[in-house]
Symmetry: C2
Subunit: 723 residues, 2 copies
Amino acid sequence: MRKFTKYITLLFTLFNLAAYADDGYRLWLKYDRITNPQVLQNYQQLIQGLMVTGDSPTIKAAKAELETGLSGLLDKPVLIVQKLTKGVIIVGTYSNTPILAGLKLESELKDLGHEGFLIRSVALEGKNAIIITANSDIGVLYGIFNFLKLLQTQQSIANLDLAQSPKIQLRLLNHWDNLDRTVERGYAGFSLWDWQKLPDYIHNYYYDYARANASVGINGTVLNNVNANPLILTPLYLEKVAALADVFRPYGIKVYLSVKFSAPIEIGGLETYDPLDEQVQQWWQAKAAEIYQLIPDFGGFLVKAYSEGQPGPQKYGRSHAEGANMLADALKPFGGVVMWRAFVYNADVKEDRHKQAYNEFKGLDGQFKDNVLVQVKNGPIDFQPREPFHPLFGEMPRTPLMMEFQITQEYLGFSTHLVYLGTLFKEVLESGTYAQGSGSTVARVIDGSLENHSISGIAGVANTGTDRNWTGHIFGQANWYAFGRVAWDHELTAEAIAEEWIRMTLSNDPEVVKTVKTIMLASRENTVNYMTPLGLHHIMGWGHHYGPAPWIKDKFRADWTSVYYHKADENGIGFDRTTTGSNALGQYYPPVAQKYASLTTCPDEYLLWFHHLPWDYKMSTRIPSEKSGHTLWEEICYHYYAGAASVPKMQSDWNSLEGKIDPEIFRHVQCMLKIQAKEAIWWRNACVLYFQSISKRPIPADLAKPDKDLQYYQNLSFPYAPK
Amino acid sequence: MRKFTKYITLLFTLFNLAAYADDGYRLWLKYDRITNPQVLQNYQQLIQGLMVTGDSPTIKAAKAELETGLSGLLDKPVLIVQKLTKGVIIVGTYSNTPILAGLKLESELKDLGHEGFLIRSVALEGKNAIIITANSDIGVLYGIFNFLKLLQTQQSIANLDLAQSPKIQLRLLNHWDNLDRTVERGYAGFSLWDWQKLPDYIHNYYYDYARANASVGINGTVLNNVNANPLILTPLYLEKVAALADVFRPYGIKVYLSVKFSAPIEIGGLETYDPLDEQVQQWWQAKAAEIYQLIPDFGGFLVKAYSEGQPGPQKYGRSHAEGANMLADALKPFGGVVMWRAFVYNADVKEDRHKQAYNEFKGLDGQFKDNVLVQVKNGPIDFQPREPFHPLFGEMPRTPLMMEFQITQEYLGFSTHLVYLGTLFKEVLESGTYAQGSGSTVARVIDGSLENHSISGIAGVANTGTDRNWTGHIFGQANWYAFGRVAWDHELTAEAIAEEWIRMTLSNDPEVVKTVKTIMLASRENTVNYMTPLGLHHIMGWGHHYGPAPWIKDKFRADWTSVYYHKADENGIGFDRTTTGSNALGQYYPPVAQKYASLTTCPDEYLLWFHHLPWDYKMSTRIPSEKSGHTLWEEICYHYYAGAASVPKMQSDWNSLEGKIDPEIFRHVQCMLKIQAKEAIWWRNACVLYFQSISKRPIPADLAKPDKDLQYYQNLSFPYAPK
């Protein structure tokens, strides 16, 4: 990649070839020369040299990052100094950097814990300096990335005083990657893990993956799909896993594995996987010991059990807790954890799918060992464009619940739609559970502060792949970034995170920042509107989750059909989850249940999630002052049309930035928005036409009629759409 | 990718992170500042400005490439001039560049044909200039790439006079890419073609793929696997194919498709695919018209018929010629060609597989329409590390035979072994068929000059994929490069091509050039020695073609086993293809047949390919002066051991270049060689131990005994090895 001349940009405005423009590989870790001359000059004056103490792999990584970053951003070599001079940046752990002793930072640092860091402008021996220090090497590395971010986003570094530590302990990516390198719900190419060439061949991008994660504070990665292949636990593969762990270790990233609960039979040669069987227990203990022999800091196991065909302890009449605890016992001597997923629902159970996880897990509260976390998806169904928060949050106070977000856009247009998820993450985390009255947010359940847990965790299902820009859509990078930032500090606003990302990835130009931020912050609501407005959910295609298919019915599992969820009939539409229906609302604390149960207080966003209403229901009867005179049917139509119409607006906003953004990135997003515009209309038309075939009501006259009929959309077929 | 500071390289020698070093994406099209100051100064003096005539997409591409290339290599902006000044480069087709008229180049250009080009230092109006001209836009583009190569390889440009035109007309890549993005025999990630996002989303690497191909003169690409999915011919996919064709067109690259012969049933709704059926003929005619409506310069069809389960005209008692001609008639009105593969062999036919293609095709000579080429693999079996040339070459004088080489290393260690194929390509092309006496080389059959054909072609099965460096192993790039160069000019030596590639890709440092050239030129023979020495062949694994498995037997197809080919028994080893055996040699012209039939003249390389010999056969009885006193068994052992020992030698040679090569590329090759060294021993041990289990003879005492036993190797399993 080396050096390219400054004439390239010029050339590419002449001819749109863009052979060596920005392909997005560097993510947000771009260290191009700072474009604002005043800012550049100011930084150049304030940063004169670098003094790094320590030589652990992590400190070496921190130093290399700082040197690369500074020499790029400041466009001058960075002087490595051995003694204090003006404008030096002092880097190292506090205990390892004697020059800092005079600053008496002990108590401040104590509050920052193992991963926190401190960045401060100080005067030492009469000389101005910037210190980046921490209790541990990894804290120092986090400090470095945060310091570089200040420069990348052109913040003042004149009087720095920045102390941070993460609110949640385990901040993990979950890769749903298979051993054949396909990725379940992966839309950015294939798996990053080149199993065939591991352990000997180490792709350079493994390092950059680690750098990117460390830069946002992600400290763990589950390498393989929760629909786990037991081969991952065989020596052939463990050796490969260890090689990846070696690469990630200096960046503070632990490796975890998804395990198949029946592995003792499949690769262990046993005749049972009953968690109460002694041989089974011994097999897992020996397996754990084998893993820790290779990977001393191995993180632990993620388990999908007794769900969607995966084996579980229920096969032998054992509970989730009994299964999880057996694995927890095996990992305990080595410090590992079990993350046991609560994403369970059973086709044989006739109960509303919404309620099943709660029903299975609520009663197990208090039965899990202390190194078990129960990992709960953000909503009760399955990563829909919008869901209410999962009713388990706040309902298992004696169990650390781990949040599972989806970064990959399984139900949000794959990697072709621009949907910023910062707003989704925040919406969920800020939801009030009322478990202990107001203020009992989901975030406080997750970070352990509400219920005083000693471990806490959050996971995001990764959207990375072999695409050159990692995530397919460059705005997918923003979701990886936002997940990491929210995991580190869930009090950050979606807007603040978006702005950081824009400045680091696209430009510090105020117009770019403003315009792109507007696009990003509206994007998720736009998509909800053209996909599943007003609380609709799970009306996507069969076999893939790409396009609309509200007509899916009569499959071997009712809870995999669309009609199960929208329940549209000649009388109306929506899933009654109040007391007159499934009463899923009964699983929430009363203030939540009451709010959603009442038609006057239930927000539009969840209306059809919780209520079945007549097509001609007058929206104005709910909150008259705010509502239109539309019927429900009309309101559905207007939402779909508004959603689809929002994409051309995004396009024109984006187009206004031509010349202010790298030409390759500019063209990339243009192409993607073109696809999104087409597909938003596809969603709108397919859904409106289908629901119209049931409602038998006209599309409001001021909306343009679809130019294709329902049958056209029902006949579309995509034999090789990614799944 | 933009700009990175010059300090990066320095940093990476300090800390081997190599985040932004050379990841190989740019292939051989690197335009970094010329490192030799004298050369740089000289070029800067001789190149003062640029005058380009024309504005077709191809000329625009040529201009952009030249501007990018020159501004990078010369590290200064290139002045675009409107009138003649000193040191100007004049670019354009001859007819479109009036300033060249005075040079009277008409007759010279006539000889260069449609794709040739002329680069010459001239004086015009008393001013020194360099002209790059041609009869066509694409000729100009080829000239540009060749001119840039002169600079990249630091040749003198003082007195240029370079006229070139390709010797073979159709120079094609064959992609064995499936619609689900897997690649059959692809080892560099997944398919480049992102079908899901086409036609709307155009990856930037599509352009770079086209640039790379054009730079070596490749002018066509078959996008999909010869085991063809008929869906490629449906409107959904043709629209996507057309989008790729639009990208490739300015670079002179035509798109071709592999078609499934039974498509009229599968996607056409017919009840037959009999080529003599009128409805079938009409269906293909309509399909061709539909394709050309979308892609006016569509190249044509590649067909694998009646082979390895693929349907063919034989189903209806028709011949290959009848099948090919039916398609040829459909394409003829639009100028398309049919490439009909001769890679056929039938499990039900008891004849030596070596002979089957010849037996099926020889009698059809003269029966093919004039827009049909018969595409023949280089050897009679299947891309083995070494094969004698295919006996059909020279035996079908009235039919243009197209060469099919394999660039992807199906039987040559996938993308993990360094095997330069330039020597393999040349070995085949220079083989004498004796069809018209001496000088009747395979190359002259292929280029049409021996038999006066009006069309000619050569294809290489591509080794590209989504890996960031395109080919997995960076030396795989050399094979892509070498294929293109040999296709353009089969008289170039393997050594000259290697040197070009090294200089463009790695360094102009004489020591690098010399050392790497030595590695490359020996590499294929090294691999033959540790895999299949002395004419052994087809002894690889079952299910994948990665490792050794000479023990494969008793499968449902004998011709897919290893024992079918090596025929080792207690008496000896080798396939008798002389008159006492299958007499495959009878398919060659007498001078070839006689040479290979005689034990005194048959080269060691083909010994066991054509002869079954006793284990104790004295090698010295063949050509005593040259031969050792070894028995055949011992000779086999020594070859395997010499092959495996050659890799540590390559490693130490490579290691000697540390600091002279980009650190990321250096480390990449180091890793790969480490794998190759391990796997060479795997091949050696598995083969020697297996053959020993039959020969019952000791491994020569001076060779280290394998540290594992045969069973160990037989039990190895690689569930997800790429296939």
